[in-house]
Each structure stands twice: as C-alpha cells, then as structure tokens.
Symmetry: C3
C-alpha cells in the first residue's frame, strides 16, 4: 500500500478533474477495475454531476510582484471548485476569501465550494499573519467545463449474487489518511481476494468522489441494491488511534453484529458508536431512505467532542509522513478477517436430534469441548447464525465457528446463509 | 370559562337529577350539543341507569327545633342518593350516618351512596363537634323516580371518521375543580375547533355523569369504538399543581406518545405515570376489556401517596374561589396544542432516495438544519410517525414537524396517517 | 417416600443391569407403570443402548491374600461398567485405576466408564493411604452381554392430549439424593394425581437411566413431542438447601413462568438460574435441538462456583441417613402445587365489556377487591394467561387465580388454555 499511496497522494484529486482521473487510471493498473463514467449534469437521485474543474494557476502576489504563495507549490492553496478571479483587492476583501487555521498555524487548510460557489485561496495562518500590505493581487485561473465523474468498481464474483460493498473516496486533493489510505487498503484487499478461491458472496469495491460519487453509482445500479446485504466504508486507517467502528442505520444487521465481534477481537482498544456518531461519509448515502443498505464505517479516530478526528485532518499536514504504516497494515488484516467471517457466518442447521453422544464422534472431545458444546448446541435452532450464537453466548466468533466446523465435519449440521430481517 | 363555571358550579348536579339536567341544558346553549338520554333501568354493559333522585329537604334539627344545618345552605349537606328518613335518633345513630372530615374541620365532605343505599347527612367537623345533645331530629325528604341520564355530545366532523374522544364528568354537586373545570375547558376547546377549518380527524366531546355515564354512552355507541383512536379525560385543571399526565392502558399508542411529548414541552414541571396511577375516572371505562380505547387523563395534581389529589378535593371547599384561572387557561392552550399535534402527527413517506442534495432546495439550509436533517431523514422509513421520530431522536415534536413540513413543501415527502398496532 | 427409598437405594442400579431392573420392577408395584424396553445396540438419536453389565465380584487383595475392600461391601467399590481384570499389579498401575476423593477421605466416590472403557476400582482416600505394599492383586469379574434398557412410564390421562413430562433418573448405584429421591417423589406425586379427578392435561412420569434413557424414550416417542408443553426434572430434593429452579432453554414458556411464580411463593429462600447453570441431567435431552421441550429442573442445591451441589454428591455418603425428610416432603407439596397451577393457568377471556359494575355481583366486594380487580381486569385481553397477568402485575399466581375464579363464577369470563409461542 505504501508505494501506491506515495505515488498518488499529492495529485489534485478534485471531484471531477484531471487529477482525479489520473489517480483512478493509476489504480486501474493495480487491479481489474471497471470505470463507470457519469457526464456533467446527469441527475443522480436528488443530485447532479458537477462540471469538470481545472485550476491552471492560482497565486497571491504583492503589488511589488512578489508571489506570496502559489497553487504550483500545493494544490490546497486554492479552494476546490473556486470561481476564477483576477484583480487587485484590498486586504479586507482578500481576508474574506482567504482560508487559514489559527489552531494549526503551519497548515494550509482544505477548503471547497462545490455548489454555492465563490472564489477562494488558502494558506497557513503564519503566512496570513505576514500579510500587512493594504492591497494584494489575486490570480485564480480556473475553468469549468463538461466532464465525467468516474467511479472505479472492482468486482469479485461469488457463488451468490448477494453482495457486500466496500467503499472509499478518492477525491481530497493532496491528502492521505482522508482518504488515499482507504482507497489503497481496499485495492490491496480486493487484489488478495481476487487471487484466492471463489467466495460465496459477491464483493464490490467502489472508489469514488465523496457523496456525489455514491449518488451517481447507486442511482445507476439500483437493480443491485436488493442484493447488497451490507457494506463497509474505509477511511483514516493510518492514524495513531485504535479502530473506531460506526454501526449502520440498521444496527441489528448480520454485518453490524459480525463487525462488532471481529473488531473487538482484533483490537482490544477499539470502540464503536451509532450511525453518524463517528464520521460522515458515503455510508450515509448507502443507509439513506430508499436504499437502506446497512453500511458501517471503519476508521481509526479518537473519541472526541466537536474536535477533529485526527490532528492533520483536512490540511496540508495530512501527508504520507503522518501515516502509521503498521496500523494501516493491521487494519488491512482486520478487513480481510471481516470478509473471512462474512464468508463463514452461516446458520448451522442441526441434522441430529437430542443431546450429542460425544463418545461416538472422533473429533468431539467431551471434556475439552464441554463448555463450547453446551453454549452452541442449545442455541442452534436453524435461525441463529454463528454470529448470533457468539453474541448471545458472549463467545468469540472464531470459537463458535470452530465448533460448528467440527459438527459439520461430523455431518451433524448443514450450513445455510443467514437471511436479513 | 370562568363565567360558565361560576354560573353552574353550585348546582346540585347528582347523577340523574334536575340539577344535572339544568347544567347540561345550560351547556347546550354554549356549543352545538346533542343530548343523549338513557332512561332509568336501561342496561349498559354490566351497569344499569339509576333512578332520578331529588332532595326536597334535608336538615338536622335539635329537639328544641333549632336547625343545625340544611340542604338549602349547601347541597353537600346530604349524601347523594340518600334514602329518605325522618325521625328522632340518638347521637350514636346520628353519628353513624353523619359524614365529616377531621383533617379538614371546616369543610363539608362530598358523600354518595349510589347503589348500596342508606340515609346520610354531611357537615363540617367543627359543626359535628358541637353536637352534644343526646338526641336529634333528622329530616331527609328525598324521592326516587324514573328519569333519564343525560350525556352531552359535541361532534366536530373531520375528513376522516377516525376520531378522538375528550371526556369530562359533570356530576359532582357544588364542586368545581372536580370537574366543572374539565367540562368548561372541553366546551371552550370544542367551540374553538368548531370555529376553525375542518380538521382531518373527527373529535367528540362527551360530558356525562361519572362511570355510569360512560357505560351508557359507550354501550349505545359501540359502532363508533373501532373508529376511536384515542381519548383524553380532562379534570382538576385549575389547581395550583403542574400537569399530571396519566398514560392509557395501551401506553404504546400514538396518542400516548404524542401527549407525553407535547405536555413535557409545554410544562417543564409536568409529570406522568401509568394507567390508574394518578386518577380514576371515566378513562377506566374507555380502556376496559372489549372497548380498549387508549384514553389518557390530563389533570393538575400533586404527586402523592394515599393523600388527596388536591386539598379541597371532594369537599365544600372546592369552589371557584380555589381555582387558579391562569393555570386553567394554560391547560386549555395545552389541550388545543395536543389536538393540533394529533392533526399533524402523520407518517412522512420519502419521495426521494439517497442523502439529500440540500443545495438544490431553497428552503433547506444545510448548515443550520444539519442536525435536524440527520436526525429525521434516516428515520423516515414510511412506518414511523412524526411522534415516533421525535421520541426516538429525543427531539421536540415541533422541531421534527417543522422539518417534515419543509420536506413536504419541497415535494420530498408525502404524508399518510399513522395506523395503530 | 421414605420406605420406598430405604428399600431401593442400596441396589447396584447401573445403566443396564439386574440391579436397575430389580428397582424398576419394585417401582412398578407402587403405581401403574409401563416398562419400555430398548435392547442393547438400539440406535437412539446419536446414541445407542449399551450392553447389560454385571459385576460378579470385585476386590482388592494383598499378596498375603487379605481383602482390602470388596464389591460385596459396597457396589461403589468398582467403576460402573468397568472392564474385567484379574492380576497382580504394582502400586503405580493400581493407583492409575483406583479412584478416591482426597477432599472427602472417608467417602467412596462414584466412578463410571460407560463408553470409553477401562477397568477401575474405588475406595475411600483413608483406605488408599494405607496401601503401602509394592504390589496388589486385583479381581474384577464383570461381564458384558446383550440386555434391555428399561424406562418406566406412568401416564395420567387428561382431557387434553397436551402433556407435561416429569422425569427422574434411577441409575446411580447405592446413592440416594442423586436421584433415588426424585424417583420416589415422582412416584408419590403421580399416585396422588391418579387417585384424584381426571386432570385437564395429560401427565407423564418417566423414570430412566440418565441421558441414554432419555435418548431411548424420546427417540421412540417422537410423535408425543409436539404434545409436550413442558417438563420438570426432579433431583436432590432431600438435601439441606433451599429450592433451586433451573429455567428451561425456552425461558419464556408458560411453565417457566409458572414455576418461577409458584416456587418463589412456596420457598422464600428459593433461587433460580438459567438453563445449564444449576445441574446437568436429562432436561438437557428434552431441551435439545429437534426436541425443544421446555423442561426445567427442580432441586435443592447450594449456590456454588465449581464445587459440588451438596457435600455427599457422587459418593458413598449419599445414603438415606443424609436425607432431610421434611425438606423432601415440602418439595413433594411444591411439585403438587406446580401441577395444580398448570391445571389452572388458563387464559381468562372477558364475557363482559367495560369497567365492572361491582355492586351487581354478590361475590365481588368493591372495597376489599379494588386493588386486585384493577390489576387483573385491565390485563385480560384474551391473550394473557393467569401466569402472564400475575407476572406483569407482580402479584401471586394464587391471588390472580382466586379473582379470576370469582369472575368465572359470576359468568364474567370463560377460560381457554394458553398456547405456547
């Protein structure tokens, strides 16, 4: 993941832009990926696709002709989707359009004006504080033109058409934990499951510009919605923090239960919270009225009240230098482990009646399996999944799975896929 | 309300009596009211209509011919439905039939013997304590004869036949908070909604003698019961206390939820309790087996254990002088506000899919409506009513209603009436 | 019960054995009992019937020819289902096959090797500590041969085929509280209900060797399983401890609710716990997958962590001398009282509408029955049983039953049997 992230993070990946296209094409080299294109103006639920935006030049210049900062140094120096503007402005006018962060004086903030448009520049607060002249020259040379929003889609066909969707957004220019890392992790995970045996479920990875990208893809794939049993949004997985699992808007879903079990087993510092209580990303579109796919979100962020999810969030400090690569790798293993549990979370249907006569079955050891057997056997009612049983019995998913696997080998249960309520 | 109460409170409004009839006819002058008549002896569920009772005279007289107290001074001096009796009795015999309240020495208590009959007189405890003679003369000239129990019914026809019932009893002689005030408040509220636009639901106000009146009206209107979605009993709303909301026997009803929301919003000192834990009135008949209309009760009483709901309760002290008129007016506003919320508590059914693209809708301001939008939109599943959403999201009914109204104006939702389980 | 227990407790009642047969035949003299026979090798769910086992002789002898202990002194001196073995063994070999209990130095432990077989002897720890010779002579003369496992079945035919099953196991050699007492109590209770009027439900008492006996009987009576509404396993009811009620695997069953109510009313020190958290006996087979009969267990054991249910458990100390006969008699009364409540736990269906006009019904006294009437009447929805109402209203089963009986006498309710979910 590190190489991929380092090669793409710095691109000016605005919603519909050459920088975004360059990134998605580079990703398509890494894994078999369909690129769905939605032209400017296409209606997508209540949304429409914006124009392609290009920034040719953006600078703040003193009347003496000295460049204070320039887009060529960092694409964050201009507000994403800024209107073009050129002219001399007094300092008050400039400051009304110049974004900085007093709390992070050396960071250029990420600002965007996708729909209610204006012109805007960004710089670090320490630079802003040097701006003492009465007037400055502003150069913002941007163009808006028809283009196509692009959604990359990786599909791992399973035996069933029922599918799980993984999602990450690619659209924040020159930023890394938000969410170049989610994209890279998703690509890596899907490369790995594509290489393995054919799974039971179908898996989809969608890489898109935030929100409008989900609206575009979902509105054009509504026939797939009934097949989507759940989803997981991936973001900010290279920070210093423990895992944070945000439940879906249907917290009783099998995937909600599974993720809660698996995440807690993998990371004892992990925490979880209800829908919309940790992050706000594309999982909102998937959980929304008329779609109602239970998509959770997995990230690494601090528990907080009103503060940023992590220090470098939405600033020029969010670079590969701030990524904890080991954490990112652990998160990848966790996502693989979630997929593994999805594949194995079946309903064990007993093929026997009565208390088990253990002495008859070679692989069942009465003494050592006494506890797990009692906890599992009397909950196997042909309706409870392995995750249901693990949750009710306060056991790990793995322990219940292992015992059910033994029962299956002894032909004492058959497995059937769970059905969502 | 005050004029009406002051003109009728003092009447000897016994169950079936001239005093009651005089009162109900006076009310029928205030608002279009049908008067349903049920003759003595009519079977009403397990009940039957008692005789009309008239007290022509009731007095305690010393052997010297001096009148100690008389019905002509206050109708409470005789037990309601007392048998006639005339004769000289020793003091012990007298005291076995003479009701007083040691805890309220200056109050004449309200006593009644509707069914297990006897003769009885009432006086203040301080008067009783002056009765030191060995013998007294009792004069109780009462008659029992066929009559008709009368139930006043005000109907506001709505677009739907589904209806809500408001109820108050008129039958306690010469008392005010119990429940002349509930009657007057009901009449005033119904006059107001009759004057306004045609409501969606039909509303019925029934004014009746306690319990047997409800049995009479309900047993003769059983075809209406399936249309009754809920009800509210009104009583003791002019005391000094905060509102007390007693839930129905079906506390999951839409009306239970609505009243709990609206009452708490209107009166921060309001308290609530389960069915039969605050008062016992006609709401029992409505909530009973075979009827099962979720009728709540709204009153102003103190939280108490075994004591009276308010100091003057069931005594001659319960006069207009003890009424807090401002409280009564506030309660009227509260009842109007409950009716308003009943009218507006619909189910918002989304006409859109996906997360909303706020920038597209003039009346939705993303920044200021962010919290309410997130709280409401993801709960609109076509099953939850506005009250359901407000309760689950711990928001006020008003806030949710306002946002749903905006969505409706933007043609993003349609509204349908809730269905009781 | 005492006579029966004293006459049978000492028999070598191994699973399939002459001693067991002798006991079951003696029981069949006490009460009309069918004896179901299942030959060795019969498949019963995942189980099969073991051989009949006979111990002709078992002794530990010194090389000097002195008998240390002998099966003829106590049948516990040999492991139940021990393989035959004769020969001289060194002390280490002997000790690997000699069972004792260091924590109870004067008790011979009960050991068994029904399926994973070996030879084995048992003695008290104090005797074991005297074994200082280098070698000993072991004589175990046992034979395995085809036989029949026997299940005694007492049936009390009721008006309905729906039935309740009571169960106790007869198979522990020379032990009393585990579970000769449960057997004797069951026989006594059934003798009593056979003598009485025909009950509404059918009752079955099954007396069997533990676990494999249940598998045998249930697998050959699967047509009865849908009629079994619940069951109760009886064991260890003569100890010094209060009652311990173990819920079934379907803790919402009517019988679970009933037993919890009745046991708590009868024994204020009684405690209860979930399925498999107090004892492990045949109730496991009844509650298992594919059978799913809610069988509870009633015993008298101490709350404990990892220790024995009572001091003499599974040792030669578990004799009639350790039985608290008064406790056993109280438990019998409790079981009769449970059966009485099963018979009476019907659903009261109101035949009236509205609040009751108590003055009309001779047997309803408004004043004294006010509380119970309010608690019961408004919960009679034609779905709740008497036990449901008692549980919800936090009243005793008896109080609710008594009031419902009054309503029934007054023809205000009819009763219908509850239906399990």
């Amino acid at each position: 993941m590190e190489t991929l992230i380092r090669s793409l993070w710095h691109l000016p990946r605005d919603l519909v832009s050459d920088g975004y296209d360059q990134a998605i094409l580079a990703l398509a080299d890494q894994v078999p990926m369909a690129i769905n294109e939605y032209p400017t103006g296409t209606e997508c639920f209540t949304w429409f696709i914006p124009e392609k935006w290009t920034c040719h030049d953006a600078r703040l210049v003193t009347l003496d002709g000295e460049t204070v900062f320039s887009y060529s140094d960092n694409p964050l120096h201009v507000t994403s989707y800024s209107l073009p503007f050129s002219g001399t402005v007094d300092r008050d006018t400039l400051f009304a359009h110049l974004h900085s962060r007093a709390d992070l004086p050396n960071a250029i903030p990420f600002s965007f004006k996708y729909y209610s448009r204006d012109w805007g520049l960004c710089c670090s607060h320490s630079v802003k504080e040097t701006l003492t002249d009465d007037e400055y020259q502003v150069v913002i040379d941007t163009t808006f033109e028809p283009g196509t929003l692009k959604v990359g889609e990786v599909v791992v066909e399973g035996e069933s058409e029922e599918c799980y969707v993984f999602c990450a957004h690619l659209c924040h220019p020159a930023q890394t934990n938000d969410d170049m890392v989610g994209v890279a992790l998703g690509v890596d995970v899907f490369r790995q499951i594509l290489a393995g045996p054919k799974p039971y479920y179908t898996y989809r990875l969608v890489i898109l510009p935030e929100t409008v990208g989900s609206a575009a893809w979902l509105s054009h794939n509504q026939h797939l919605v009934p097949q989507m049993k759940g989803g997981l949004f991936l973001e900010m997985l290279g920070t210093e923090y423990p895992h944070a699992l945000q439940r879906s808007n249907t917290p009783t879903s099998q995937l909600d239960m599974l993720c809660e079990l698996i995440v807690k087993e993998a990371d004892e510092d992990a925490w979880s919270a209800d829908f919309m209580n940790i992050v706000l990303n594309d999982e909102r579109m998937f959980n929304s009225p008329g779609i109602n796919v239970p998509m959770l979100s997995l990230s690494r962020v601090q528990k907080r009240e009103g503060t940023q999810p992590y220090k470098e969030y939405h600033t020029s400090l969010d670079t590969p230098e701030s990524v904890h690569w080991e954490n990112l790798n652990k998160s990848k293993e966790l996502v693989l482990s979630i997929i593994d549990s999805i594949e194995k979370n079946f309903i064990p249907v007993p093929l026997f009646k009565g208390e088990l006569f253990c002495s008859r079955y070679e692989s069942i050891d009465y003494a050592s399996m006494f506890e797990i057997m009692n906890a599992v056997v009397y909950k196997m009612d042909g309706k409870r999944s392995i995750a249901d049983i693990a949750k009710e019995a306060r056991l790990s998913f793995r322990d219940v799975l292992d015992f059910v696997t033994i029962l299956q080998k002894e032909k004492l249960v058959k497995l059937k896929p769970p059905v969502e309520n």
